[in-house]
Symmetry: C2
């Protein structure tokens, strides 16, 4: 392994490689993630181009060194850990917008580009990547729906482009869809062409509180069944609203500590007014109260910040020494009230403090549970809580992960969800492209 | 091969298998398709369930018999031909709605279900599959975006489900996306879960004519850059409008024989009114005239029928003995006027009669060229015309097929588009799942 690292250092320069303990720690562990492993990468490499990534892959392939891609480091299922050691390949230096095709409404970026920065820098064009991960799924779909093509470096160092740059294609296998979301286990993505959308003329946010989570979800379902152009509908439970209040923010506003729906509207002035009126009617029929919509940009920012701050508020408000176990599942729409209800009761029964945040439009929700990692009782309790939630999602024909992926942490659950036959198809595909299991090995499924 | 057919007949019953010459002809040749081959299937099998398909695959696998799926028979690139002979597996008997989950806004269907019948039978729920293939792509995306999961029979007869039934998932590889659009070369799809959308409160259609195709496309681009909620925008050139006039229909209406845009709006009464006003303004600024929108259901039907009848009008109006070569490409949005212009000029220069129909929202268009297949000059001319159009699309970073797929007819072009490296990744994936090349062999790429 060290020989390989030396060769890479010779080729890319000393600046591009580090074996410093602190650097390695940052690339092997994250407080946000709950899946860890004892092994660490031997070095961190920071390529600057597709060609450098290909060169790294060729050397790693020759010395059989595992390659573990690292981008934002925000994953929570141990997706960027190195259970078989190897190299951590950090894409933070590949943060350029490669090409902006305004007239084609697309943009080509390197993997280290942050979506907020991207939208800032193309704002003048009236276009944006409509990802406010992940609440905007309802109107705009998920990230993968915006990917036009990918440049991928394979295990052996060969470079492929999944397809050209038209917005629609039926030219052969959908390799774009296969590599996107494969968690670096099939290849390393070095360039992404993304579709863009026009920035809506106007936006507004509305908020409504409900006597119960069940009522809130029922209201959201009714709204979805009408053709109202909501961009997002987010559920925050009473615990989450309490945490946000305690944490301050939201422009000093105190929220009612009840199950709450936040609606995001986008469109024209007229269409938004009509949509808000419709949602208000549905909400009040469904037991909703305190319906309020924003009238100014500042209001909108304050309202929506409650949603954006949710995770950080939980982190900030947790007692010293405790950690947060964050997990997500998705179920068919009709099962959402039931699974949230049961999951909340279960964590209470186990004596755990937890909050719920749901992307109601696609049956996906997150539970954040506080626990003391030093306490075996609490650690066991939180594991039990997650295990039951995941198991229940599967029983409801749902998935063990709507957003977070599988990584190290959910491999067992994935087998339960899909069965050995389907996993074995995934393994066959993996083996065909990466026969020596060098690409992020140990993630999604075992070799 | 005949031994295998006999075993299948024994297992499924004589009714499920035919070796009748007429039946075999229907399953090996279509007038609409321009890619043919001399070989034919030895028999046509009509399974009734996933289990029967699995049984067929197990027997075919044992006797190394190619399996060629056949559904609507509407493909134009020879996608259902049998160049290596084998079995034609006809899914017309698998035409059941397996489950309709109204509250989850999804439906599970067998592959023989027609989307018009599906929408008719679930209409009472206020839900629909928003596919008016393919003009509605702009608002609703393509078919693949509506697929939740697939049940697939693999070459060896094993049955897998690509995933469960939540609307969002990040559970392992996106097998749904890999199998959808693989033209039966990786497995046979026997069940499909589909998302549904609420039927819009109101719909309307507007029409505008332009001095040139360039002006029409420029207007469509401007509309797309605003956040107008158009469901579709379709371009029909002056030739196409003339053909529709000649063919009658459209409620007796005579159209102006100029490049024409048809807009489809959906939403609420208020939002549609606002959208129409906006589109009218953009259209008149861009040289559009005769802007007119529909006020009644009957009008809407008549307007839109011009679009729906386009292909059939071409077929009906063609002189005795001629055929239609229909092909499609897609390019980045900004290149659309140029490629349409050049393609029209080229076919004229070659002395061919051709019409253009474009899904302007995604840079995708179809050219339908009339030719006499008995005339070597005309056949060569049409081939030349298609070759140049495809080649030009590739040069513009476009694709050789936006919708029709590759089949037999566009294998060469696909290599030119994607390069040997990318094709070789597709081939590797294919080989890993179908080592004996039994699943629709000879399509998309050669073994």
């Amino acid at each position: 392994m060290l020989k390989g690292v030396q060769e890479i250092t010779n080729a890319l320069g000393a600046d591009a490689v580090t074996t410093d303990d602190d650097d390695i720690d940052v690339h092997s562990y994250s407080e946000v993630s709950t899946s860890h492993c004892a092994a660490k990468p031997v070095a961190v490499v920071m390529p600057k181009s597709t060609e450098e990534v290909a060169l790294i892959a060729r050397i790693c392939s020759r010395y059989k060194i595992p390659m573990v891609p690292f981008a934002g480091g925000s994953s929570v299922e141990g997706n960027f850990t190195a259970p078989y050691s190897g190299l951590s390949i950090d894409f933070s230096q590949m943060n350029q917008i490669v090409a902006f095709h305004e007239e084609d409404m697309d943009v080509v970026v390197q993997p280290g580009v942050n979506w907020v920065d991207l939208n800032d820098s193309i704002k003048h064009s009236g276009l944006w990547l409509p990802m406010d991960p992940s609440p905007t799924v309802m109107r705009y779909g998920t990230m993968k729906d915006w990917v036009v093509n990918l440049t991928v470096v394979l295990a052996d160092g060969s470079i492929i482009k999944t397809r050209h740059r038209p917005r629609k294609s039926s030219a052969g296998y959908n390799l774009t869809g296969l590599f996107a979301g494969s968690e670096g286990t099939l290849g390393m993505i070095t360039e992404i062409a993304l579709k863009l959308a026009p920035i809506p003329e106007e936006r507004s946010v509305a908020v409504a509180t409900f006597p119960s989570v069940r009522d809130a979800v029922a209201c959201a379902s009714k709204v979805m069944r009408q053709s109202v152009q909501i961009a997002a509908v987010e559920l925050l439970d009473e615990v989450q609203m309490g945490v946000i209040n305690k944490n301050g923010g939201s422009g000093g506003r105190k929220w009612e500590e009840k199950p709450t729906l936040l609606f995001k509207f986008s469109g024209t002035t007229q269409s938004i007014a009509a949509d808000i009126a419709k949602v208000e009617r549905i909400s009040s029929q469904g037991g909703g109260s305190a319906f309020e919509f924003t009238k100014t940009e500042q209001d909108m920012h304050n309202f929506w910040s409650a949603r954006k701050e949710a995770v950080w508020a939980m982190c900030a408000q947790r007692p010293e020494g405790t950690q947060i176990w964050s997990t997500d599942v998705a179920v068919p729409l009709s099962r959402m009230p039931e699974i949230i209800d049961l999951s909340k009761k279960e964590s209470e029964a186990l004596g755990l403090f937890s909050s719920v945040l749901g992307h109601v439009g696609d049956g996906n929700f997150h539970q954040a549970v506080m626990y003391d990692p030093e306490s075996p009782t609490q650690t066991q309790a939180v594991q039990e809580c997650v295990r039951k939630m995941v198991h229940r999602a599967i029983e409801m024909e749902g998935t063990v992960s709507g957003e977070h992926g599988i990584g190290l942490g959910k491999k067992e659950c994935l087998i339960e969800e899909l069965g050995q036959h389907t996993i074995s198809v995934m393994r066959t595909l993996k083996r065909s492209l990466d026969p020596h299991f060098l690409m992020n090995p140990g993630k999604i499924f075992d070799p």
